[in-house]
Amino acid sequence: MSTDTMRRRHRRLRWSRIALAVVCAPIFLFLMRPLVVVFPVSVSSAPYLQFPPPGFSLRWYESYFGDPVWIDATIRSLVIAATTTLASLLVGMPLAFSLVRGRYFGRVLLDRLAIAPMIVPTIVISVAIYDIFAKLRLIGAWYGIALAHTILALPFVIIILGAGLRGLDESLEQAALGLGASRWQAVRRVTLPEIRPSIVTAAVLAFITSFDELVVAMFLAGSQMTLPKKMFDNIRMEIDPTIAAVSVLQILIITTALLLSQRFGRGATVMDVD
């Protein structure tokens, strides 16, 4: 091939790269636009939604931190999310072991059942649980919401832990057993450290699934607000830009959680699951 045609091809390749970037730039902007816009609104001095903001003020942050209803809702959501994380790992981890390594009758069915809450629309699950919980007088109980959220988080937990376990070299565990470790020791000292990135990722996902969940909470919370429910009610009534301040805080919390998981999960992300 002559250098001339090579050069021409190179130029053509470069042009197609530029064309691609030109197509993609506005799409990236579209993705980021809503996240960027809440920042200026949150520090606006206007008492209602106005753009561009007429002046700078921190009053919406003050109104968030000064309002016990917002703070209670936030704390309740944090407690529910932490409980959900713990419960879904406690139930999900043994399940993941069972599904990946077991060869017993009914395993496939159990696998389907555990993934199903991801497929069944949340509105259907919410209404169904609402009916049961109303009879059990569990409406308004924070742990009722945590239980329901655990069902929603379970598919993520077992998909991610399952992927981690499948990628694990089982001979390591065999070696530990051969060297006289008990089964529990082998799991605790060899397997769990090996799949730590998956555990961290699963925990973060479970936490966010719950912390960000609205539909179930809307039915089960009763008068006990969770953060998403309070946000939803506020947005529906379009009260004031406090919601923007809350949004900014939430973006910061989630980003921190993600960075922490990157740090401790050694770079494990959802993308590891193909």
Partner: protein, 277 residues
């Protein structure tokens, strides 16, 4: 042999807590809800759900929005996935952050942000007025368009990720071979990338379509009560009308449609996998 059997029994036992939880808090409630819809052995609620014009309209809106959202999401996601799969590692990392960050941000935050953007006094209307492009603020909010925009934004990562994953599985040697044989980049794209990423497109479309089918938050907020998708209708029936049997019938319709789509998709996938094998 006995040890292996004991191990299997132990492994099966590990699944019991989860099984109990799923049975009590998921399978039983959902089945009960479905049973409510045929209480007394009558099918009147299904006759209502499937026969009355008002509700057929709701399904039609739901399907229409789901289709538009899926197609739009695909059109926007494909170039982004292609860009991410073929660019330098640094640009890919940056682009990924842009795709993933919205995924991690609360749907409520994003929906609220769209209200800021699309509202009467929102960013877009203010800009249009400032540039003299319109005389009066446009009604951008509380209609189907707003719902579609919001849903596309929420669902895009679910489309980008599977397509990207499929593209990454394309063997780079194949591209080099094609380049070496003199194929231009468009031709490489059309003859190699597109067919090999079809699997990802397919997976992404199913995911986005099914998710948008049962969507609640975005239509409830951006639709402002004017865009009634099926999930919004179910919520109304339970919380405002307290018509449980009818909500049960609607839930059954939604659930059946969702499972049918997944089932068909799965069959098509395994058939294709069978062809490839």
């Amino acid at each position: 042999m006995a040890a292996a059997r004991r191990r299997q029994r132990l492994l099966a036992a590990l699944g019991i807590p989860a099984l109990a939880m799923l049975a009590l808090l998921f399978a039983y409630p959902v089945l009960r809800l479905m049973a409510l819809s045929v209480e007394g052995g009558s099918l009147e609620w299904y006759a209502k759900a499937l026969g009355e014009r008002l509700y057929l309209e709701v399904y039609w809106i739901t399907v229409r929005i789901a289709v538009i959202v899926t197609v739009t999401t695909l059109l926007l996601s494909y170039p982004v996935a292609y860009f991410l799969a073929t660019t330098t590692p640094l640009a890919a990392a940056l682009g990924f952050a842009l795709v993933i960050l919205p995924l991690w941000t609360s749907i409520l935050v994003r929906t609220y942000a769209w209200m800021v953007l699309l509202g009467r006094n929102g960013v877009i209307n203010k800009s249009l007025l400032a540039f003299g492009l319109v005389e009066e603020p446009l009604a951008l909010l509380h209609n189907e368009l707003a719902v579609i925009i919001g849903m596309v934004h929420v669902l895009m990562p679910y489309m980008v990720l599977p397509i990207y994953a499929a593209m990454r599985r394309v063997d780079p040697d194949l591209i080099q071979a094609a380049e070496g044989l003199g194929a231009g980049s468009f031709r490489i794209f059309r003859r190699i990338f597109l067919p090999l990423s079809a699997q990802g497109i397919y997976a992404g479309c199913i995911l986005v379509f099914v998710l948008s089918f049962g969507f609640f938050i975005t239509p409830a907020l951006l639709g402002g009560g004017r865009v009634i998708m099926i999930a919004v209708l179910i919520e109304q029936q339970v919380r405002e009308v307290l018509n449980w049997p009818f909500a049960g019938a609607l839930s059954t319709v939604l659930l059946t449609a969702t499972i049918a789509i997944y089932g068909l998709a799965q069959r098509a996938t395994s058939e294709r996998a069978g062809e490839a094998a």
